[in-house]
Symmetry: C2
Subunit: 266 residues, 2 copies
Amino acid sequence: MPHRSDIGRLSPREIRYLIRSGTWDAPTPGLAMGYAQANVVILPARYAFDFFLFCQRNPKPCPVLEVLEPGRFEMDSFASGADIRTDVPRYHVFRRGRLEDTRKDIRGIWQDDFVTFFLGCSFTFEEALLRARIPVRHIEEGTNVPMYITAIPCRDGGIFHGPLIVTMRPIPEDKVAKAVQITSRYPFVHGAPVHIGSPEKIGIADLSRPDFGDAVKVRQGEIPVFWACGVTPQAAVLNAKPDICITHTPGHMFISDILNEELATF
Amino acid sequence: MPHRSDIGRLSPREIRYLIRSGTWDAPTPGLAMGYAQANVVILPARYAFDFFLFCQRNPKPCPVLEVLEPGRFEMDSFASGADIRTDVPRYHVFRRGRLEDTRKDIRGIWQDDFVTFFLGCSFTFEEALLRARIPVRHIEEGTNVPMYITAIPCRDGGIFHGPLIVTMRPIPEDKVAKAVQITSRYPFVHGAPVHIGSPEKIGIADLSRPDFGDAVKVRQGEIPVFWACGVTPQAAVLNAKPDICITHTPGHMFISDILNEELATF
């Protein structure tokens, strides 16, 4: 596998080719900087309307970037020449809500009724925060972002239901307003924070014990700021226990041809 | 029927009750100011995923505010106590793409598989333009907004396809930037203009001959500014010729409990 720094300047299409050929099967942060990476959820068509509805009703955790028609695995403007069956580094296969398999290719289990959803990912706004010299602690510490299950329920969408899951980034008090402004520009990648300040107000008992990812240090003078997280729809899918569902594995995202700035509001 | 000025201060719920009881069956502009009014499209469930996809891929003309599950006609937070079968002043019933009937109530033809889509409407941003002293010509002239079929195709979504349809408002040159800023705050009600300046560049031959609505005067020193229009999804539905489709009639919108400001970005 090439070193991350060797492929940092490749285009999304070139990186997708490395992924497809099996040359790259590691996490995707830092690759194709400036381009939007996406969460992937693949479901049989009979669940697709309900899942679409769940996303529509919970746009902060589930910002839909693109959806493919039943059976369709190739894309045009969203990711030129891409194939969703091969172009994600690693896939999780869930059956009836249980993780059954991790794969590098899903051509062997592809079904003609599969509908693919691409949802925005916080990498987009983290890049914008860093450009404005707002620290992103888990990147500084080289760990995965801490994620917490909140006491805030999502709105149900058909069979899909579950709690809002959030990420946390500690922000210096004098930069919280700026962090809100910057992330507000990206409504399609989770947008503005859902809570600022008190973890206990949203049902988080202990910041040092995240439900997923790794704890990060909150320093003196920093405020914990919470954003809606793309794990929320995955959890809702697990609750609904569809016969089959395929997702990317955490951190192993789909890299689109959409520029982060194309997703920004003014 | 009460005079418009007599009911101007009623709440959305109170106005919906007047509509349901048959007391009000006229256009809804100017009612429940401050609250979002919505375009309505009702389709059998077998078409719902495709229509959802069409809206997702064309968010400027088709900004989805809410969707109801198959068969559901009552709402909660979107419009407390509302019933979509009775709470629109007038409905159009289309069969295989042809207008067949205009009704004040659709309880008699309601189907258990009907899915209701509510799409944002430009009344929201017109109110914001007026608050900033930006003239809205068709309101000044007391006519319907001029609408034009453009040469810009929408992205297809399943069986749904068609051209982008736009509205036009002439804006004084020194207020065009402000008009862009204001409408950019409302991405769920068509948002920023899709074109500024040259009608012929988007396939409009003659501003004085709109395809729908009424022509308005463009004065010296004004620039024609074009916004995506909520008639776009209706035209796509007519092209697709579903067995049945029910919409509001033009200007006779559904009045929600959502504040326009709740739909605004920062």
